[in-house]
Symmetry: C2
Amino acid sequence: MSNLADSLRLYLVTDDRPDAESVIAVVRQAIMGGVTAVQLRRKTDDGGKFVELGRSLRKLTREFGVLFFVNDRVDVALLTDADGVHVGQSDISCKDARKLVGNKIIGVSAANVEEARKAEADGADYLGIGAIYQTSSKDDADMTSLAELRRISQATNVPLVAIGGITSERVPEVIGAGAHGVAVMSAIMSATDPKLAAGRLLTKL
Amino acid sequence: MSNLADSLRLYLVTDDRPDAESVIAVVRQAIMGGVTAVQLRRKTDDGGKFVELGRSLRKLTREFGVLFFVNDRVDVALLTDADGVHVGQSDISCKDARKLVGNKIIGVSAANVEEARKAEADGADYLGIGAIYQTSSKDDADMTSLAELRRISQATNVPLVAIGGITSERVPEVIGAGAHGVAVMSAIMSATDPKLAAGRLLTKL
Ligand code: NI
């Protein structure tokens, strides 16, 4: 368990709600509840709003010593001084991202052993593995069984963050299958009490 | 009329058709017809496809000595070794783009004198002015009258590329109002003969 793995233990991915102030408020509550890393994921924002919200979250995460990642857009990651960028299989490749970000952290989504091995070989610092469970927040996501997660944990040497429909009840079996941390979106973003929701997840980690 | 203005005389903006091979084929024809600059604009592609198509167009434009721009995504502009990036009012700002692109060309969309003056002050190398005429290719675009285009040409010192519904018949009044070049999308991308369409526009420039 590396230092990076510790910092990826409870990883919050933001949703696409139009209200940026609401995103900031929920992220703040989530951090108070114990979130250790935050990824800003905005599929509908233009670059200007994306950068603006990113800078707000960068300030907030720095205040609390929490890692800050930007999904997909390497330019936004650079402009917001993010700790890293997270890329999916259809985004800018890990090798291309590396050309632009230097020694920032690069996370890559992988759904199976093959994708995981390739990402590690390409220089990924951590892997997002999933979707482990069915989820409504990602369209036609590739699914990853707990058995495949276990195979990935045996085939790779970078921290693994499991993602997709993870609840506090499911954390033990996911960690048991080899994940170093869990990433959640709706379990915290849509919770009535995001701080409480983060705390409940953290107690199982 | 600067050297850059000459290179921006007939500026093609690509459309969002899913078929990348078709984009490349049309751009090739358009360049043969006289297009002097190409902007890759992809609102629906993920980063991976965007970079891949951008590299193909970079190779093609270089072969013909034509300028190559990427719309909105500064990261894709950097990875494809584009000549520059074009940003709209809601994209990454001109000042932020400059932090990442060094001395690459930056174009900024402006619809009025105020936006044009600000963009020039922020370091824009050229301005895209419009929409001059109604167009279906851009949703709720701000409109710019020919009179406003003339005011912008008097208020600024960078090359102006007029955009929005421009046809070969309309080129003379647009150039007469102070534009150094014209940008088109559907007039070439949707033409039965893109090479002929580009040639017809060029004869009016
Ligand atoms: Ni001039």
